[in-house]
Amino acid sequence: MSLPEPLPALEIVELARIDGSDETLAITPRWFPMDRLAASIRCMGVVTPLHLQPAPAGKLRIAMGFRRYRAAREYGFRKVPALVWTRASDLQLFDCALAEKVTGPLHDLERARALVKLRAQFGVEEESLIDRYLPLLNAPPSRHRLRVLLRLGRLDEALQRAVHRSLDPETAFRLAAWRVAERELFLGLLKRYEPGRNRQRELFGLLDDLRSSERRRGSGGLDRVWQASGASEADEDAGTVRPLRFRRILDCLHRLRRPRLSRHQDRYRRLKGGLKIPPQIRLQVPPYFEGDQLSVSFSCRNQAEFRHLVGRLEEMGGRAELGRIFELL
């Protein structure tokens, strides 16, 4: 990654000469937060020079330092230090920008954007992306990894922003196939309830399956699922705290997705309620009723309590509800 010219002399350049709209060589998406950098520039000014290239009409374009440029403008600086490269090609400058970038923490979205540009703008072959650029970007040199990053880099901005917030990339890829309104519904839920990755996947899995079933039946899409399941109502229930609302949404969707299982669970709850089990006794069915053993455990503080609980267990043993619970397994 050598440049065909010696390091240019440091210059002080008028910001007005720089065309900041030309993002050909930008690696970091424009919308990435830059609070820390902005704060530092606000009090110190730009101390690390921008790297620039001559552009038509006497203007200069940025090769490195897009964020420094934006922060300088925002805080009203008129001039910045810069190195102006006159002979280096775009690809050579881009390589240098990458080499500089990887000295700090790099987000997958930046890796992805760099690879998409290398492939689409500079025509770099996939083999070279794997062998040369993935290691440079601190990523394992495999075609699978390359494909994932290229997919990530080709997502639209809304989805990339969601990935940057917390969206699981695999979910984002599948979300890309949804209609815009459907996506917005899902992304809105993530914003409102901020679920962790596992809950996110659970929510997406349910919605995606239900949406596909609807579409196969030709009876609409996510909107119908959202209404018919009761999730919409749960979402609008302002009287319930957010975590509970989210649980109710998941529950509504589960009921629609697995109606037989839900009926089974309801029956179990009813029967268990009918047994009037004291809190010291715990009755547990295997997950999804898949297994033929009911687990019963109890805890007590003394012999009298022990005898009392054994008596209750014996009494439970004769109840019809218990027999019916066994039938659910």
Partner: protein
């Protein structure tokens, strides 16, 4: 079945002279061949290059099997509650399959995406011989369809021929070919001695058309079964994976009916039942590879063996119905469940699951009758 014609054949030098290799090369004279010292180099290359599954299956690899061919069927070994095992054994003469069933577990199970045939079949036979002779009173049921379809490549390899002839010499062993193809040509005229069962995994036509891509149509499978029966083979059917969809009852009953209308019940060695099972990874893979398939949208729940399956009352209902349909047409045909826990067996057959050794033995004995 859509016939398999690879774009390229890789041959390990160690099996250059194998009869299987010669068969393949003779049948595909125009296909480019690359000679390899060791097919494992291909494995590491494919890991790095990550070719798509469909692309990788376009190459056929003829290799030497380095480990043991003969294994216990892994179905009984499961996480959580153990599934009932029917004492089945498998020999992996090949791995991977050129057909494209949406639900095929090989898609995420194999770490080598190419289609491989292990051409050192004399080693396979030697291993079997040692096993059968050292346990002369143990009845063995041995299948070749665990990691590949048993017959889909047979028109290229002729692998079935030495296997059928070998098993005909052993009174304590039954060979089962399990297939979704109609490639039975090589079985005609062989002296099988009643020791080979040819069986078909079978589903209603609607499922075959939507989810068993490139496989032989149900009509062709049944015609192939008729040809085998005419040659004195016993045949088997695996209603596996049974799929739960609107109208499943009518379609499966028609299928069972058709089997017993077209084939004499005494020629049916067994019928096994199993239902759709997917790992979470396979479900995601299916959703992206076969986005039009409705199979992952069934009422599946995670079960202790780590798979997603239909919620048990659905499975029990499907199995019970199938058992009734079979019993109504052929009361003596053995029916068993594949990869199911004892609790489900009890519900389906209204009795405790059979002793596993006896189950395997009785299937082997009825097959040989």
């Amino acid at each position: 079945m859509v016939a398999y014609t690879p774009d390229k054949i890789y041959v390990e030098r160690g099996v250059a002279d194998s009869w299987i290799t010669r068969n393949v090369l003779r049948r595909l004279p125009a296909t480019p061949v690359e000679w390899l010292e060791d097919s494992r180099t291909l494995l590491s290359a494919s890991r790095r290059a990550g070719p798509s599954l469909a692309a990788a299956k376009r190459s056929l690899v003829l290799a030497r099997h380095k480990g043991r061919f003969f294994k216990d069927c892994p179905a009984g070994r499961s996480r959580g509650e153990r599934n009932v095992c029917c004492n089945y054994f498998v020999v992996n003469y090949a791995s991977n399959c050129h057909m494209e069933c949406s639900y095929c577990y090989l898609q995420t199970h194999l770490n080598f995406p190419h289609l491989v045939v292990y051409a050192n079949y004399p080693d396979l036979l030697q291993e079997l011989e040692a096993r059968f002779e050292s346990h002369p009173s143990t009845p063995f049921r041995v299948g070749t369809g665990e990691l590949a379809d048993s017959l889909a490549l047979d028109s290229l390899t002729r692998y079935s021929v030495p296997l059928v002839e070998f098993f005909s010499r052993y009174g304590n062993a039954i060979l089962e070919f399990k297939t979704k193809s109609d490639c039975v040509e090589n079985l005609m005229g062989l002296d099988h001695g009643g020791r080979t069962v040819v069986s078909w995994s079978i589903n209603p036509r609607a499922v075959q058309e939507s989810d068993e891509h490139r496989t032989a149509s149900i009509e062709r499978r049944l015609r192939a079964a008729e040809r085998c029966v005419a040659e004195g083979y016993r045949v088997g059917f695996h209603l596996d994976p049974m799929i739960h969809y609107p109208g499943w009852q009518g379609d499966y009953e028609d299928l069972v009916d058709e089997i017993f209308r077209r084939l004499p019940s005494r020629s049916v060695a067994w019928i096994s039942l199993g239902s759709l099972r997917l790992s979470a990874g396979l479900k995601a893979f299916m959703r992206s590879r076969f986005p039009r398939s409705g199979l992952p949208l069934g009422e599946l729940v995670p079960v202790p063996d780590g798979k997603l399956r239909y919620f048990w009352p659905i499975r029990v209902r499907m199995y019970r119905s199938a058992v009734e349909w079979v019993r109504a047409r052929s009361p003596r045909t053995p029916v068993y469940l594949c990869m199911e826990r004892p609790g489900v067996w009890s519900k389906v057959f209204a009795q405790a699951p059979p002793d596993e050794k006896r189950l395997g033995r009785s299937l082997a004995v009825t097959a040989a009758r």
